[in-house]
């Protein structure tokens, strides 16, 4: 049931909340907030809180800087790590123009546009992300290091794992904030952890992910640790991905499930996979937006490199987990947790919908380890690969009217500008590897 303005005012009064963080994300998915006191809450709930949009990366120029925040009452929740008296709550917001129209550069509003497009077919996309992250120690100046608690030296003999304790606190805090956590566990690499969400509609899940990253960082800091969602912080060690489970529901039924079809996978599900594969190269810049994202998408570390799908093995881009019935779903394995979740879900939804609308048949599933295949074998299966770096990924995005449409022209232009700027900045650097390999030889 949706919360009303009165519900929130009542909850704030009962729980002794004194400050509200009106939250939204910039194009890079960084959480921003305008903090208000409860005396301004009436005004805030009526969408009358204004902020300077020109101060947010990728938003607007200085001459068009007045923006309004319109909170979504359903997203009200209280941060659990503050005392009840003087506590802090958050509301996720859409960004609006002064004339009352949704701001075309607001990622949350853009996802809503894609959700509305799916709604025309009575479809709802559910997402269940598995977000991985590392927890490192900080140095004496508080700067993050690559030293993990698992190799903590001093703490080696301790009976308690600091990371496990921090992760338990994270899960408890997230649950207190109303997020449903399906599982949480230590990951492959030292210091790496994973927290899985119970699936929900795309907007709720994107809100949850934004909150999740904030909560994880905050709790880690409270434990004297530093949490990072950087996709590949350490070379030669598994990076952090955000495998995302996707399904489409219509009137409460999972349309991916067809008990009479081969493998109990409906035709719509196959088309959805077809769309995800067809547009994979084009949306990778959005699901993997950093220079560093592409250091994760390399062979040998359980991250996908090739555009293919499979029932069983985990090397291709799309995997179909064994679960059937209401849990029938596809798992997109390329996204990483540095992405803007609103934009990432918008492009995934648009790609899958295109598959359904245009009846895009996926190629045959590849139930072999693609990393072990020869080039000839890959060619025989028609297996292409994901972009190898951010620049190539942006070029692929440029060539796709469909994914550009999923972002909207404003976001596409600003997003592209930001990504290319980052690439050019990276390209002119002289890296440690180059110094190490070339300096002694040339």
């Amino acid at each position: 049931m949706s919360k009303t303005k009165e519900d929130i005012l009542h909850e704030v009064k009962e729980s002794g909340v004194r400050f509200i963080h009106m939250q939204f994300t910039d194009l890079a998915g960084q959480l921003k907030n305008v903090a208000i006191t409860t005396s301004q809450l009436h005004k805030a709930l009526d969408g009358e809180i204004m902020f300077d949009g020109s101060s947010i990366e990728g938003f607007v120029r200085i001459e068009e800087s007045d923006m309004y925040l319109r909170p979504d009452p359903d997203t009200f929740s209280i941060f659990p790590w503050h005392p009840r008296e003087g506590g802090i709550a958050r509301l996720m917001c859409d960004v609006y123009n002064p004339d009352g129209t949704p701001f075309e550069g607001c990622p949350r509003s853009q996802l809503k546009r894609m959700i509305a497009l799916a709604k025309k077919d009575r479809y709802t996309m559910n997402c269940g992300p598995e977000a991985e992250f590392f927890m490192f120690h900080t140095d004496e100046n508080g700067a993050p290091t690559l030293h993990t608690h698992d190799q903590g030296g001093y703490f080696d003999l301790a009976p308690t794992d600091l990371g496990e304790n921090a992760r338990r606190d994270m899960v408890l805090s997230l649950e207190e904030m109303g997020l449903e956590i399906e599982a949480s566990h230590h990951e492959v690499a030292p210091g790496q952890h994973e927290i899985d969400f119970k699936y929900s509609d795309a907007l709720t899940t994107a809100d949850s992910l934004s909150t999740f990253r904030f909560v994880v960082r905050t709790i880690a800091q409270r434990h004297g640790l530093y949490a990072t969602f950087m996709p590949k912080p350490i070379v030669m060690i598994n990076g952090s991905g955000m495998h995302t489970h996707l399904s489409i529901f219509e009137n409460g039924n999972n349309i991916f499930y067809d008990p009479n079809a081969p493998e109990e996978m409906s035709q719509e599900m196959l088309y959805f996979i077809g769309g995800l594969l067809k547009h994979a190269k084009s949306y990778t810049a959005v699901t993997n937006p950093l220079v560093n994202s592409y250091k994760r998408l390399v062979p040998g570390y359980e991250a996908p490199v090739y555009i293919a799908w499979s029932y069983r093995n985990r090397s291709p881009l799309v995997r179909v987990p064994a679960r059937r019935g209401i849990g029938t779903r596809v798992e997109l394995r390329s996204p990483d947790p540095s992405c803007n979740p609103y934009l990432a879900f918008a492009v995934m939804l648009r790609a899958g919908l295109d598959g359904i609308h245009n009846k895009i048949d996926p190629p045959k599933p590849v139930n072999l380890n693609i990393y072990a295949m020869t080039e000839e074998e890959k060619n025989a299966y028609g297996i292409d690969r994901l972009p190898e770096n951010l620049y190539d990924a942006v070029m692929e995005l440029d060539g796709s009217p469909l994914i550009r449409e999923a972002l909207g022209e404003h976001i596409y232009n600003r997003f592209r500008e930001g990504r290319i700027k980052e690439w050019l900045d990276y390209r002119i650097q002289v890296h440690d590897w180059e110094v190490k390999h070339y300096l002694p030889r040339f």
Binding site: W81, H137, T138, E140, G142, H223
Partner: protein
């Protein structure tokens, strides 16, 4: 040396300060169970050791001692004693000025540990009461569902919960959870 059951962790990057404080506390039976030379390291130590008392040099790097204070306080990690080696205002926290007299340090440290012990007992009591209250709320919810579904009165709903919980060999609260999770189910 006096026998004392309290341990402490010390947060300081100043070896002289550490040595002096440790000497005074050891003399009176407090025992040191860890140290941290910066805030993150000290927080990790506190979470790992869970000592009775955290003794913190207000110049512990890299700064933001007030945030450290609120984390320790909010998460109930230990009793906190700040010793100011510079000039800082920490409203609401026990703050002694360095250099400190041994008798004052010991008296304050013991009082803080005792107070923390009482606080812990009270917190446990509150937790127990909250749990009881929430169990009662859940049972009330389950009773209301049963009364509505089976058109029975309150007493009969409670007896039904008791009976079915015994039949299923689960606690009455577990049975209440099952009823709440399946509000449309007619019988259990």
């Amino acid at each position: 040396m006096v026998d004392n059951r309290y341990d402490y962790c010390i947060g300081t990057a100043n070896p002289g300060f550490k040595k002096a404080v440790t000497a005074m506390l050891t003399e009176r039976g407090f025992y040191s169970s860890g140290e941290g030379k910066n805030i993150p390291e000290f927080l990790r130590m506190l979470r790992l050791i869970q000592p009775w008392l955290a003794i913190i040099d207000t110049q512990l790097p890299p700064g933001n001692i007030k945030q450290l204070a609120s984390i320790i306080e909010e998460d109930g990690l230990s009793a906190i004693l700040y010793i100011s080696t510079g000039s800082i205002n920490l409203n609401g926290y026990m703050l002694l000025q360095w250099p400190v007299e041994e008798l004052v340090l010991i008296a304050v440290a013991e009082a803080l540990c005792l107070e923390f012990s009482h606080k812990k007992k009270l917190q446990q009591k509150i937790k127990g009461l909250e749990k009881k209250l929430s169990r009662r709320e859940e049972i009330e919810k389950a009773k209301a569902i049963l009364m509505n579904n089976m058109a029975i009165d309150e007493d009969s709903a409670y007896r039904y919960l008791q009976k079915t919980s015994m039949e299923h060999r689960v606690s009455i609260i577990e049975m209440a959870y099952r009823v709440i999770a399946n509000p449309d189910q007619i019988s259990f």
